[in-house]
């Protein structure tokens, strides 16, 4: 596999299948973090709609056929698509992190620190989003390369699993008993204790995406363009 090819394919996917409109899917979640009572997974949900659109644009623009004619291997196309998805997801988390810190500071000052609609925005909430982003990729990507990029149903299932799964997980965590109160905390000490969870989530995210890639690559091998 060529790193240069992967990089070029990612740039192609971003320029031809997303476009400037993706910025909206970054600004909206960042601003929604300032809403005092709101389920946080719902704010991070919109980006997945943008990723779903990538596959729709692929189908409409016959991107898979165009990519098939380029001097790249089929498996490089699959890896690049996954890399583009992961890049958009991680970039969103990084982009919104300063807004999360600011919102925690402001909400604390406005006496609205505890989110009654779910978890507070902290490292654990980001870790949960990350894992469910991975699960979304696992549902959508292999299906896309099996069904000639017709992913409407799989995308809907992926979105449903993301929103329901992440919300349930958050609600289980923000109503803790015993000694796991720090999971919903936003203090410096709590955030420090939460850091290993983010590392664990990052590893899990990578493992899930590896499985998604292998399954998608195997499906694409058998698919005629």
């Amino acid at each position: 596999m060529s790193v240069r090819n992967i990089k070029n394919l990612v740039l192609k996917d971003l320029s031809l299948l997303t476009g400037p409109v993706v910025i909206i899917f970054y600004i909206i979640p960042a601003l929604m973090l300032f809403i005092p009572a709101y389920p946080r997974p719902a704010t991070m949900f919109y980006l997945l709609v943008s990723i779903m659109n990538m596959f729709s644009f692929d189908l409409m623009g016959k991107d898979h056929e165009f990519s098939g004619l380029l001097p790249v291997k089929k498996k490089e196309s699959v890896l690049a698509r996954l890399a583009a998805m992961m890049l958009l997801q991680i970039l969103l988390l990084v982009f919104t992190a300063p807004f999360a810190i600011l919102s925690n500071y402001l909400l604390d000052r406005w006496d609205a620190a505890n989110n009654p609609a779910g978890m507070n925005t902290n490292i654990v909430s980001y870790a949960i989003i990350l894992v469910f982003y991975g699960i979304f990729n696992l549902i959508v990507l292999p299906g896309a390369y099996k069904k000639q990029f017709k992913v409407s149903l799989r995308s809907i299932i992926g979105l449903f699993v993301f929103i329901v799964g992440a919300t349930i997980t958050e609600n289980l965590i923000c109503r803790p008993s015993g000694g796991i109160l720090f999971l919903n905390g936003t203090s410096g000490h709590d955030l420090l204790l939460q850091t290993p969870i983010l590392i664990g989530a990052l590893i899990l995210y990578c493992v899930i995406n590896c499985i998604a890639y292998i399954r998608a690559r195997n499906n694409y091998k058998k698919t005629d363009i």
Binding site: S2, F66, G68, P71, V72, K73, K74, K221
Partner: protein, 289 residues
């Protein structure tokens, strides 16, 4: 004479029931090979198998003496492909598409590309959907010709073009292979294009290669024969040797092999062109009862 494309015994069955049967074809370095056949005969499918877009059930493809798909990316660096009119990313500007496309080619030549844009009167600020069918073909050609390709694989490259543009493109094709190192494989329904520039012809019918070889030799191996209906009914040998025959109330016209010319003594004969060979083989196929 080395081959840049060597496809051997390709077989593929599709869910629709269509089958490619033992398709073998060879494209020689420095020559233009025309690939003909009716709609749905298997031309595009064969191209897709050659390019690795579909996997054959059996058979193998060698490009530049390298096995596909093991050497897919390096082989495709040297190939320019046109699949009819440019039908991708309809809402994007040509400039955006080209920027994404050229990154993949190490020998991309900006000057040459600008030259083609000027020659084809293409405006890079336009969106793909704003181009006419002919302009889309020209844009595809501009992309395919700007990265130093040694082989062009073109599926219906002249469809939608006016006669002047077609003629200009045929000249470009001849110019492209003139150094003896570069080659073209192209499919077309416009058989007059083949008369202008093809050196070799490969003819596919119902998923099977039925004819393959030098264009002049193929044309020289058939004769068109014309005469009255009585000549047809009274000459059993002629009737048996007809490959295709068209009967009208005034007489008949048919296609025979040149080696059977003696059978048509006294009848009007003429050299067959590619179009007549195709029409008589397909439309007026003769079944001796």
């Amino acid at each position: 004479m080395s081959a840049v494309i060597e496809a051997r015994n390709l077989n593929k069955t599709f869910p629709s029931g269509f089958r490619l049967k033992d398709v073998s074809l060879s494209v020689k370095r420095g020559y233009i090979t025309g690939f003909i056949g009716r709609n749905g005969a298997g031309k595009t499918t064969t191209f897709k198998l050659i390019l690795g877009l579909s996997a054959p059930e059996s058979g193998e493809v060698m490009l530049f003496d390298k096995r596909m798909p093991d050497h897919e990316s390096e082989c495709k660096q040297d190939i320019g492909v046109v699949f009819g009119a440019f039908g991708y990313y309809e809402t994007k500007r040509l400039k955006t598409v080209t920027k994404a496309y050229k990154r993949f080619y190490t020998n991309w030549d900006d000057e040459k590309y600008a030259e083609y844009l000027k020659r084809f009167d293409l405006d890079e600020q336009k969106r793909v959907k704003e181009l006419s069918a002919g302009m889309k073909v020209k844009y595809s050609l501009a992309l395919a010709l700007s990265h130093g390709a040694k082989l062009l694989i073109l599926d219906e490259p002249t469809s939608g073009l006016d006669p002047v543009s077609r003629d200009e493109i045929m000249d470009m094709f001849r110019d492209f292979v003139s150094d003896g190192e570069r080659s073209i494989l192209f499919s077309t329904h416009i058989t007059s294009d083949l008369d202008k520039c093809a050196d070799h012809i490969v003819y596919i019918k119902d998923g099977e290669i039925v004819m393959s070889g030098d264009r002049e030799e193929i044309m020289g191996s058939f004769l068109l024969v014309q005469g009255g209906l009585d000549a047809l009914s009274g000459n059993r040998a002629l009737s048996e040797s007809l490959i295709g025959v068209k009967e009208t109330p005034f007489g008949f016209s048919g296609l025979i092999r040149a080696e059977d010319a003696h059978i048509a003594d006294g009848l009007q004969t003429a050299k067959a062109d590619i179009e007549s060979i195709m029409i008589y083989t397909e439309k007026y196929e003769h079944h001796e009862s």
